[in-house]
């Protein structure tokens, strides 16, 4: 029972081929503060890249820069050959290809769960209401919330709201999903249901960039770990390396600050416990 579980991380997917998303020396300043001080890493198709690091180190800023919700002050972000911040680039076309999930869900409180998921396709893609509703229903089934379609977000638990938010992002059929601490605002008992939806998504081959403090998720599901500190990438590599043999003192400090001493079984169980999302 206590036997050490061997987590076999997948090899880095698609290395050798061109990355789907790459950050090249990205700089972002807020006044005198350099929130991103030249950040570089790559995301390949089908990969789960986890961004970890202390609060205030620039992880959320990086995600907002990825889909041009923020301008940048240097470097480039490239999505399959298209420079995101180029003036000639239509930022809205790129955003459709990147789904985003926020720490505070940010569901639209005046719309039902179904309309929350359907509003992207109808508004942005001009999809007919009925077709969008069908797509939304299917996605809600996928995240285990088909029975909540007619409810308003306020009547849902945090975990349920976040699963709706994932369905809403998926409704645009994005190539990449960006998650910004998707479980940080959740009660402990609903974290597992969100992580297992995310794990399933990863298993289906979705390309994901996940900012998280869930080290077990990062280690078990992530293919590549990027460690942030003070707006810089201090270390990156496959999970075994970053978690088990971190080469940088900063990474060791951060991990021990989180109480990470190798594998923590308790939290890992969140991922395998039976969840209400299973049909």
């Amino acid at each position: 029972m206590i036997a050490k579980r061997k987590t076999k991380s997948r090899p880095r997917i698609g290395s050798g081929t061109a990355p789907i998303l790459s950050f090249e020396g990205v700089v972002k300043r807020y006044g005198p503060l350099e929130a991103l001080a030249g950040v570089s890493f790559q995301v390949h198709r089908g990969e789960v890249v986890c961004l970890i690091g202390p609060s205030g180190s620039g992880k959320s800023t990086l995600l907002r820069c990825a889909n041009a919700l923020e301008t940048i002050d240097g470097g480039r972000v490239v999505l399959e050959g298209v420079e995101v911040h180029d003036r000639r680039t239509d930022a809205r076309k790129l955003r459709r290809r990147m789904g985003m999930v926020f720490q505070n869900f940010e569901l639209f409180p005046h719309l039902t769960v179904l309309r929350n998921v359907a509003v992207g396709p109808t508004t942005v893609l001009g999809m007919p209401q009925r077709q969008a509703a069908e797509r939304a229903t299917e996605l809600l089934r996928k995240v285990g919330l088909a029975d909540k379609a007619a409810h308003y977000p306020a009547s849902l638990s945090g975990g349920q709201q976040q699963r709706v938010a994932i369905a809403r992002a998926l409704a645009m059929q994005p190539d990449v999903m960006l998650f910004d601490e998707p479980t940080s605002a959740l009660d402990p008992e609903t974290i597992g249901e969100v992580l297992s939806v995310m794990k399933r998504l990863a298993d289906e081959g979705m390309t994901m960039v996940v900012v998280t403090h869930e080290m077990d998720f990062a280690k078990r599901v992530g293919n590549w770990i990027v460690v942030f500190d003070h707006g810089k990438v201090v270390e990156q590599g496959p999970p075994q390396q970053v978690f088990d043999e971190p080469t940088v003192q900063r990474t060791r400090d951060f991990l021990s600050h989180l109480g990470w001493h190798g594998e923590s079984l308790a939290a890992a169980d969140l991922l395998v416990q039976p969840s209400s999302t299973d049909p």
Binding site: R96, E106, F108, V119, G120, T123, M172
Partner: protein
């Protein structure tokens, strides 16, 4: 002192016509001042500095000066200075609409700014244009939040329409005061006038109270 209520009964149709005019003025003004207020609010949130500052100046002028001055100004100065002649009714409507639009614009602006930025980000991240975000996501929430404030403005407006009697628009105040000066039955006429305002105003005030309870924002 003997009271003679027959003066009220004899003039009932004039009083009712005056009450009708009050309602028409209130409803028409609000019908203009809701889109007007929204437009001013959006202009005040513009990224163009000149648009923002000139709209602010306009709104602040109408909020800072008395309505009675604004109505007189439109009534006397527009014809004299610009040779623009408007009927008493249109003058009243214009003065009231500009005034209430300015107040509504502040209400709408506060409502729009009260929606947290994350809602903008979530909608933009789906690929919506800014106008789409405003129309589908921000304004529906903002309007619901400011509904009680708009309703309060409506009730104030209902009472403030009495000011247009100064330029001889035949609203309930004007008609009542005219009957009084014709008959010298001050107490009876003013009592009837008060009763009619109250009869119409009370349900509106109650409706506002209900809206304050019903649409109170809980976050």
């Amino acid at each position: 002192m003997t009271l003679d209520w027959s003066v009220v009964w004899d003039n009932r149709w004039r009083l009712i016509a005056g009450a009708e005019m009050t309602v028409i003025l209130t409803a028409t003004t609000m019908a203009l001042a809701l889109p007007g207020g929204l437009l001013l609010a959006l202009l005040r949130l513009s990224h163009v500095h000149l648009v923002r500052s000139s709209t602010t100046g306009f709104v602040e002028f109408f909020r800072a000066t008395p309505l009675i001055l604004q109505i007189y100004w439109i009534f006397y100065v527009l014809p004299a200075a610009f040779d623009i002649r408007l009927s008493e009714f249109v003058t009243a409507l214009l003065g009231l609409s500009l005034n209430v639009s300015s107040f509504n614009s502040e209400t709408f602006r506060a409502g729009i700014l009260s929606i947290r930025p994350g809602q903008w980000n979530a909608a933009l991240a789906l690929g919506m244009t800014k106008p789409q975000v405003l129309r589908k996501i921000i304004l529906p929430q903002a309007t619901l939040r400011v509904l009680p404030a708009l309703a309060s403005t409506w009730v104030s407006l209902f009472k403030d329409t009495s000011l247009v009697s100064i330029i001889a628009v035949a609203d309930l105040s004007y008609v009542s005061l005219k009957i009084r000066s014709e008959t010298y039955r001050v107490l009876e006429v003013l009592t009837a006038m008060g009763a009619l305002y109250c009869l119409m105003g009370y349900p509106q005030a109650k409706l506002v109270d209900w809206m304050h309870r019903r649409f109170k924002v809980v976050e």
